[in-house]
């Protein structure tokens, strides 16, 4: 069906969201952008100082580490986490025995508050009374000291990563919904032509998942740019700066140094990183879409 004035209708339907965004977010964002250029602490109202805050943060090794960690987590989340969600969806779509239980169980980590997940992991991995010591003993590994997975910087980054990277239930549900929308006749036609289940996935399902894959990658990346609670609950960015990311760095600048100008400079960088990622991912998947034509 041909719709007249399509652009008008798109604008009309998205307008409430855009107005809401402008009201709720635009003003704080403008404040963040402006005060990032100011000397602004608990003691002093904002006073314009130019790029001083940016020079300060980019000269701080901890800030550079927090950017590096944020980007590594974005990459891991976009690639590994989303792919895991897709693989789970492909498996569950075949409805193997017990698939409903698995689907439900796989969603459980997504409905547990992240603060509770953080506490749970710190207790589970406690070197004295957690599961690490008995596990190592069970598999016959003798160590003089039980590895302190959150406490030792050798393991902390990957331990914190493990608290969320495997739980891709949200992505699985999105992929399953998209797979359910694929016309069954396409599969039937392919089966008639003698396609194997692997070939059905390889040549029909996966190509049709490209758009939703892009959406999942965008959501996963942006979520990682603002990941805060579980890191705060488990390591607070430590040991040292091993698990420091942009939101934790921002939080510390605001609440421990009482330096709101500096914190807002970090916020500005965070917004810029997030925007750049979204545009990059959009471009990446648009090109792929064009390739497919």
């Amino acid at each position: 069906m041909k719709i007249k004035n399509k652009g008008f209708w798109i604008a009309a339907f998205t307008m409430p969201c855009m107005v809401l965004f402008a009201l709720v977010y635009a003003a704080p964002i403008v404040t963040v952008l402006y005060t990032s250029l100011c000397d602004y602490t608990t003691f002093s109202p904002p006073a314009f100082t130019g790029m001083k805050n940016f020079a300060s943060i980019f000269g701080d090794q901890d800030f550079l580490v927090s950017i590096k960690n944020t980007l590594i987590w974005v990459l891991l989340q976009s690639v590994f986490h989303v792919t895991l969600g897709l693989v789970m969806a492909l498996v569950l779509r075949r409805k193997p025995k017990g698939w409903k239980i698995v689907r439900t169980a796989y969603m459980i980590p997504n409905i547990i508050p992240t603060a509770a997940t953080g506490v749970m992991f710190t207790l589970l991995l406690n070197p004295t009374f957690g599961i690490v010591k008995p596990f190592l003993e069970k598999i016959g590994i003798e160590v003089s000291q039980t590895p302190n997975l959150f406490g030792n910087s050798k393991y902390a980054f990957w331990t914190v990563t493990a608290t969320w990277i495997l739980y891709a239930g949200f992505n699985t549900i999105i992929f399953l919904a998209e797979m359910g929308a694929i016309d069954k006749e396409i599969y039937e036609a392919a089966r008639v032509d003698g396609a194997s289940p692997w070939q059905l996935d390889r040549f029909i399902t996966l190509p049709l998942m490209r758009n939703i894959f892009g959406t999942c990658v965008t959501l996963a990346s942006v979520a990682m740019v603002s990941q805060f609670d579980i890191i705060y609950m488990t390591t607070k960015g430590g040991p040292g700066n091993t698990t420091l990311n942009l939101p934790i760095y921002l939080y510390k600048a605001a609440t421990l140094e009482n330096n709101y100008g500096k914190a807002n400079a970090v916020g500005t960088v965070q917004i810029a990183v997030g925007l750049a990622l979204v545009l990059l991912i959009q471009r990446l998947f648009r090109e792929k879409k064009e390739d497919a034509r």
Binding site: Y25, T35, T128, N152, P239, N259, A263, L275
Partner: protein, 450 residues
């Protein structure tokens, strides 16, 4: 057009999500007050005081403060006062809220001090009342406080805080474990740190973990050990540990203390000390899994609470000062009065603080919460020796202290305390040297001068 529209939508999405964390700052800049700063004298003639109270629920002083508010309203000064409470459980949440209100909002009429030293922050914001004249008008009340306690609550020559207690800490030890290791605890303190570590070796030889330490949540226990190591290291150490907002941590005394702390993590504490919080360490002590833990008198009530410690644990606990007869002793940051501009409310709030710090209520606080009286020459009731011998011992042993010093949560910059907590694991595992550890603290303190 389509591309532009998509880009705007994408921008909206990322800003929405990124602003989730950046709003922390925005909130600080524009958050509203939880209390009404306007005059609230009711038609009935009662003065309504807004109070944000964190002494609620399971807080160690919840019962005591409930008693205080109730009893105050029975006094001549308090009979026309009503309280409008906002309850916030946990000191962390409370401190965040107060800092938010200092930054952008109105403070309540009575501003409890939640442990963090926010006196200067509050005073400089102009949102708390100058109490100097109230002290001058009532010499008897002023006489309850020593100069150190008042100086600690003075900013630019004006008194803003009313100190309600003194903070002291020392070592609790498990008599049974000492006996098992065949060592006798000193009556007051080990003469030197060497003697202390000899005792630790003896305990270790018997398979007993000597000391409790931690790193998370500001590393309270390790902070007490570290403060003691610095504070008892000669005159220079004592002076450094009594300095407000130190900014040079690369001094011989601090580096030496960091080195000893590194050894203590490696040799004398539990596996979960690194990354661990205070609570599990306290549980180790209650369960007889560690022999010594540093802490203050507020821990004493826990020894006889069967939901925390085994039956009869109270009798197994002994007290000693830090080696060299050292004891952490700091005046507490005091409670303050919001500068509401309403004289009636300020007077009523001051009257409450006078009631809170009356000699009778200081004793009541000691009995109910373990908080040490801020006044030096209070008469301690004789029955305390019978009802709470450990508390009586605390009162006795503190007079034996040869050296007193502060501790980091009272004297250091907040971000430096955080750096201490996050860098301790690196020090413990030898990923950084004691000198590097101290350098990181120095760098962290320097950020406050930016």
């Amino acid at each position: 057009m389509k591309r532009l529209f998509a880009a705007v939508l994408a921008g909206a999405m990322v800003m929405g999500m990124a602003a989730c964390s950046s709003s922390e700052t925005g909130e600080k800049a524009s958050g509203s007050s939880g209390s009404d700063g306007s005059a609230q004298t009711e038609d009935s003639g009662k003065v309504v005081l807004n109070v944000i109270n964190y002494h609620v629920g399971t807080d160690y002083a919840a019962e005591y403060y409930s008693y205080l508010f109730e009893e105050f309203q029975k006094t001549e000064e308090g009979k026309n006062v009503e309280f409008n409470f906002e309850e916030i459980p946990t000191t962390d949440a409370y401190n965040q809220k107060i800092k938010l209100l200092i930054s952008s909002g109105d403070l309540p009429d009575i501003v409890f001090n939640g442990g963090n030293n926010i006196t200067e922050l509050a005073a400089k914001s102009g949102k708390v009342a100058d109490l100097t004249q109230y002290f001058e008008e009532d010499p008897e009340w002023k006489g309850l406080f020593d100069d150190t306690s008042l100086e600690f609550n003075t900013v630019d020559g004006k008194i803003y805080g009313v100190p309600v207690s003194k903070e002291i800490s020392y070592i609790y030890y498990n008599k049974e474990l000492f006996q098992k290791a065949g060592i006798e605890a000193p009556e007051v303190a080990y003469e030197t740190w060497d003697d202390f570590f000899k005792a630790c070796d003896a305990l270790k030889k018997e398979g007993i973990t000597p000391v409790g330490m931690d790193t998370a949540d500001m590393g309270w226990l390790t902070n007490l050990w570290m403060s003691a190591l610095i504070g008892t290291n000669g005159e220079a150490g004592s002076e450094w540990m009594n300095t407000m907002y130190p900014d040079d941590f690369n001094t011989p005394e601090v580096e030496e203390a960091a080195k000893t702390i590194q050894t203590m993590f490696k040799e004398y504490t539990t596996d979960d000390a690194v990354g661990g919080k205070y609570d599990p360490m306290a549980t180790h002590f209650f369960n007889g899994e560690i022999a010594m833990i540093p802490n203050g008198p507020w821990m004493i009530p826990d020894f006889s609470q069967t939901e925390k410690a085994p039956e009869g644990f109270y009798d197994k606990v002994g007290i000693m000062l830090m080696p060299g007869k050292g004891m952490e002793m700091v005046p507490t940051p005091g409670d303050m009065v919001g500068a509401s501009g309403d004289e009636e409310k300020i007077k009523a709030a001051v009257a409450f603080l006078k009631f809170e710090t009356s000699p009778e209520n200081q004793i009541k606080a000691l009995e109910m919460t373990g908080l040490q009286p801020v006044s030096n020459d209070l008469e301690i009731p004789g029955e305390l020796t019978e009802s709470d011998p450990l508390m009586a011992e605390v009162l006795k042993i503190q007079n034996e202290a040869a050296v007193t010093y502060g501790q980091n949560q009272a004297y250091w910059y907040q971000n430096t305390i955080d750096t201490f907590s996050t860098e301790l694991p690196e020090l413990a595992y030898g990923n950084i040297t004691p000198e590097e550890f101290c350098k990181k603290l120095t760098e962290s303190a320097a950020k406050n001068q930016e």
